[in-house]
Structure formats: structure tokens, C-alpha cells
Amino acid sequence: MNCTDLLSQLGDYLDDQLSEDLRREVRSHTAECEHCRVVLNTTHQTIEVYKGKELYEVSPELRERLHDAIMAKCCKKK
């Protein structure tokens, strides 16, 4: 596996969708190639740092306002 091959498998590797054979090839390439190792590690960290983060908080006030507005619009339609 070379660097281009690794890049094409990177998404599936990060999503745990690769066969065991391909995973092994990825690991043996990154053991020798520092650039790919760094790309793989920091891309993994990128996903982890964003995972499930509520970057836009919905305050209780906003939620109530939204909820009431939605229900008012929908009920009016009935």
C-alpha cells in the first residue's frame, strides 16, 4: 500500500468499515510512513473532537419559543 492507496481507504478505515486484510495493510504502511501516520491520527482526532458536540446550544427559552411557534403553525393548518 502506498500513500495514495492509503488516502483512498482512509474514510473506511476511520469508520471501521475495512476488511481485516486492508486494516493490516493500513497499519503496516503507517508504521513506516510518518506523514500518513500523522494524517490518520489527526483526522481521527478531528472526528473525535467534533463528535456529538452541540456547538449551537438551544437554550430552554429558545426551545420553548420554537416549540410554540411550530405547534401554532401546524395547528392553524388543521
Partner: protein, 208 residues
Amino acid sequence: MPAIQSPGTEEIHPDVELVARAKEGDAAAFEQLVRQYERQIFRVAQHITQNREDAEDITQDAFLKAYEKLDQFQGNSKFSTWLVRIAVNESLMRLRKRKTSKTVSMDEDVQTEEGSIPRDFAEWRPNPEQLYNQSELGDILRRTIQGLPPGFRTVFTLRDIENLSTEETAEALGLSVPAVKSRLLRARLQLRERLSRYFAQKKEGKTA
């Protein structure tokens, strides 16, 4: 209308019953669905449009559309995926209106060179969670994702922030699974590149 389910094979999603009741005019069932998904729909709309007022309008419009079209919902996908799809379409339409001269679609801005080679090969140590407090980190993450083209931002939001599966993301965006995978990888690599600049700076600042 009787739901056809082969007995005992698959677990039925609790939304299926709520949707069936809502279709028959049960307002409480519909309200329960609103309660379950209003925050997620708002977050998705805000990520795509980057505008709070737009996100509020879109959330209301998306639920209204869902309510009006409930009869057309066939149950081939999850109700939540169907709802996200409506919200994504409304959000992209809003972006299109905002930049009157330019069209915005899932195809825009993503026609960059295939498989662009990553640059910036510095490791992140210590990890960002240890370098910044929660509110600083939140600012950085918001600013960074804001800089992505809308097509990439949307794919990344659904798949990696809101945790939809690749298949659900494809359904919500009207894209094929391979198209989602390819855009997602490029979105992830672009974000990585942008975040690397931040985290490398901080590290240099500390050791200097």
C-alpha cells in the same frame, strides 16, 4: 391503516407508531415527534446556514412541511431522516436566496481536485481537549467548520456531528453512498488541515 410487519423479526422504531397516530390526526403524537427532533433540526439548520434567525425559520418551516406532507411519508426511511432531508433542502434554499447571484447546492464547491494531498504533518499533542477550555474549544470548532464550503459542511454535520449513518446521510442529502463517502473524506481532511494550523500555533506558543 395497518402497518405490515413480519412478526418478531425486526424491532419497530417507536416513531412508527407516533407517525401512524399523527397521520390519523392525533396532535399529541405529532407534538411528541416535534419535541424529539426540534433541537436536532435547529442545529442542522444553523450549521448549514450559519445564521440563528434563518435556523429558527427553517425549523418551523420544516416541521410545517412535514406536517402537511405526512401522508406522503411512506416509512421507507426513518422519520428523522425524512425530516432532516426537508430541513437540509430548506436550508440550502435559504443559502441560495442569500447569495442571489450564486447557486448553492450539494454540488457546489465540492468540485475540487479529487484526492487532494494533505499537507501539514504536525501531530496534535497534547490533544485539543487538554489545550483549551470548553468555550475556547467551542469557538475554534465553530469558526473552523464555518469556513468549509456548504456542501462539505452539511455532509460533515450530519455524519460526524449528528451521528447519522452513511446510508442515512445519503438519504437525507439525496446522494449516493459513494458520493457521501468521498465528500465526507474531503470535508474531514479540510477540517483537519484547518484545525492543525490552530493546534500547531498553540503548541509553538507554549514552547517558545
